[in-house]
Symmetry: C2
Subunit: 211 residues, 2 copies
């Protein structure tokens, strides 16, 4: 258990780069589908196209792969909300955020499901991130939105629950993809278009102040 120099950042050879990314890609596929406990190292190794011991040569354990994925995920997850900022037109500013989140659900459905799986299982590897950086960011943006509300630029709404509803409606298109595909017969592109139209109407109506 020696770990004097916590980071001995040997700059990663080309092979290391490639294999670590193969493993992370495989981990994303497998963990997002079966959750941490439902996934096996064999599945990971197969999906990554390498032997089990070789996978464990790059990551010390199954959990290490999972943690690495979650850390990477957090950044991308927070990014669109970070970009939400002061604006002369708060409604459009919020709608841009909605559209970015919807686009992310479409572009990165596996990431969305990985996240959903982790939360569903009680966030055993993520509760620090939730109570720390995520909460701070949400508090900050909720205050911003509350300000708009106080100024009468948007309707009077609870900013936290607004954010929750943006998350839930947009991520739904990734997480419940199978359900939506079973109910709607249109192709994905059309579903996405309809979703965007609907969500634009949904949040614009909600945010527009009443006279």
């Amino acid at each position: 258990m020696q770990k004097i120099n916590a980071q001995k950042k040997a700059p990663l050879s080309r092979i290391q780069e490639k294999n670590r990314s193969l493993i992370l890609k495989a981990g994303l596929e497998v963990f997002s589908k079966y959750g941490f406990r439902g996934s096996t190292v064999d599945q990971l190794a197969n999906a990554a196209g390498m032997s089990k011991p070789n996978l464990l040569y790059y990551f010390p354990s199954k959990e290490a792969v999972h943690v690495a994925l979650l850390e990477e995920l957090l950044e991308n997850w927070l990014e669109p909300l970070i970009e939400l900022g002061p604006s002369t037109n708060p409604i459009d500013e919020i709608l841009v955020y909605v559209k970015k989140k919807l686009a992310m659900s479409r572009a990165y459905p596996l990431e969305s499901r990985l996240y959903a799986n982790e939360i569903l299982q009680g966030a055993p590897n993520f509760s620090d991130a939730i109570k720390g950086p995520l909460k701070e960011l949400v508090d900050e943006k909720a205050a911003l939105i509350q300000g708009w509300s106080d100024e009468g630029k948007i309707a009077v709404i609870n900013p936290y629950h607004l954010i929750f509803s943006i998350w839930s409606t947009t991520q739904h298109y990734a997480d419940f993809d199978v359900q939506i595909g079973g109910i709607l017969s249109s192709d994905k592109q059309e579903i996405t278009k309809d979703a965007e139209t609907y969500l634009e109407h949904l949040f614009r109506s909600t945010l527009t102040p009443k006279p």
Copy 2:
């Protein structure tokens, strides 16, 4: 593989009744947290307070417990939507549905998570239900809502995506419970109250036709 009399409905003794329900309760707790693949028969038996072979005396396999739970779930899941029907006040009719769904998320969070887990994993035991009864019901109610929209009684919206947004926003309070609890400091009762106020505003604004 004989199965001449498919149903030999011996009417279940008191012991059978009790133990089957103990097992289903245990299955709900375990499967809703870890998904099917992430749950073990040992966990089920422990949660049910009985030995492993005894559990398997009542259900032939781990999968049988899971399937039984999903079948039970489907009915309860569809019920509130079934009740959505013709009304002279469509907006309130839909808002009643929203409130019922939110109440269900609060009363039966484990059921919600069981469902979410199954969908996330690709609905291996549920895709028939989705493409069959669920789709039919949603088609029917979407037509009803479309009618209201055509008559100008509610705003012009895509009824399918309206339903998806009701599902996602309400179920979010069960499925992402851990995340919400990490962000909000208020107690559950207050969160539920705020959620209800917010969702009422959200869907009323959306559904109210523009002049």
